[in-house]
Amino acid sequence: MNPVSVEEAVAMIPSGASIMVGGFMGVGTPERLLDEVVRQQKTGLTLISNDAATPGKGVGKLFDAALVSRLTATHIGLNPKAQQQMLANQITVDLIPQGTFVERIRAGGCGLGGVLTPTGVGTLVADGKRLIEVDGKSFLLETALRAQFALVHAFLADYLGNLTYALTARNFNPVMAMAAETVIVTAEHIVPVGVIAPDHVVTPAPLVDYLIANG
């Protein structure tokens, strides 16, 4: 893990990059990183995020600034700006079931080519996907999903980069921290090594490439 400033971290992300951003309706999202993405005007982003949050909050800021060109998400109904941009064909949107979304990212992070899920069989979601039978039951083949960057928000980070998450702010963060080439983390608190007990670490240090330093 390398400690960096938020400016340095975001400077590594080129316009047009694919980014996974943790959070669920803006809860558990690395706000400081997104503010800086907006400030540095990274355009044409491929965003992989559970939802579009709401205007002004979480990934909603990226839609306010019209920085997103492609979106993979599960629900964008609470962000009218994202809806508008989708209906105006300014962004290409792939809406997928939430359990499928997280399993595809987990597969990407865990070296699996994909998973077989019953979710979506016989619905619009099945269009263009392979249907695979196992013991007489039908499943959709859902393939792995990865990104160039994962922007992750933790509760505690220690000096090595071990991470814990708080309450419902955990959500997609630990899974995304495994599924990108470069993992950039903000933490509410940075604490000395040993403060986090081994059994409480959720994301082990070697997964973290850059931690945004205090101050």
């Binding site: 309706m25 989708m86 209906l87 079931p97 979506g120 619905t123 419902t168 955990r170 899974v175 959720v202």
Partner: protein, 216 residues
């Protein structure tokens, strides 16, 4: 009684001690208000929590503890938090005993449509498809009709949420089951006759010899 409260109270009677229950937004959320205090039900919020508690008192809300709509909630003693892979592992893996969801349409075969109106409302399905595919028991809690049109239809015209039929539909007028593979009128709301339900229901309903009144 308010139609929504009739629905919520009736659905609450379907829950049992020890059940892991996931409530969708809208009417389903109200169900938690009508669960008897001695019933030990675990409520899951799919953003990563089992043991959701009531809305926190003034000044006690924490920004990192919310429901799936992003609104502040509390956590009961014995709550557990986890990531989204675990949350949907619980849902898709059959560990959720009951899910209560809103609906746009349910048809005579028990198929539910509740996630999009093509060309009009395309918010995304969120967790709905996984919940209907994976929960042990799927209960739809919705008004019987919207703008004078039956929501219990012969065949869903809207895109399906799942091909797995739901188990029970609870409306302000009736309880409809699908145990035999076909829509069956199980109960009527207080003061509502079987004929009245049939009159406002597009789907053909199987009507048993006796149709009791809902206990609320």
């Amino acid at each position: 009684m308010d139609p929504q409260i009739i629905i919520a109270r009736r659905v609450a009677r379907e829950l049992h001690s020890g059940d892991l229950v996931n409530l969708g937004i809208g009417i389903p959320t109200l169900v938690a208000n009508y669960v008897p205090a001695d019933l030990k039900v675990f409520f899951q919020s799919e953003n990563g929590l089992i043991g959701t508690g009531p809305i926190p008192e003034q000044g006690m809300a924490h920004p990192l503890l919310t429901d799936a709509g992003g609104r502040p909630i509390s956590a009961l003693p014995g709550a557990a938090t986890f990531d989204s892979a675990m949350s949907f592992g619980l849902i898709r893996g059959g560990h959720v005993d009951v899910t209560v969801l809103g609906g746009l349409q349910v048809d005579a075969d028990g198929h539910l449509a509740n996630w999009m109106i093509p060309g009009k409302m395309v918010p995304g399905m969120g967790g709905a498809m996984d919940l209907v595919s994976g929960a042990r028991r799927v209960i739809v809690a919705m008004q019987h009709a919207a703008k004078g049109k039956s929501k219990i239809v012969a065949k869903c015209s809207l895109p399906l949420t799942s091909t797995r039929p739901v188990d029970l539909v609870v409306t302000d007028l009736a309880v409809i089951g699908f145990a035999g593979g076909k829509a069956t009128l199980m109960e009527t709301a207080p003061g509502v006759s079987v004929a009245e339900v049939m009159a406002v229901t597009e789907a053909d309903l199987t009507i048993p010899g006796t149709v009791p009144e809902m206990k609320l």
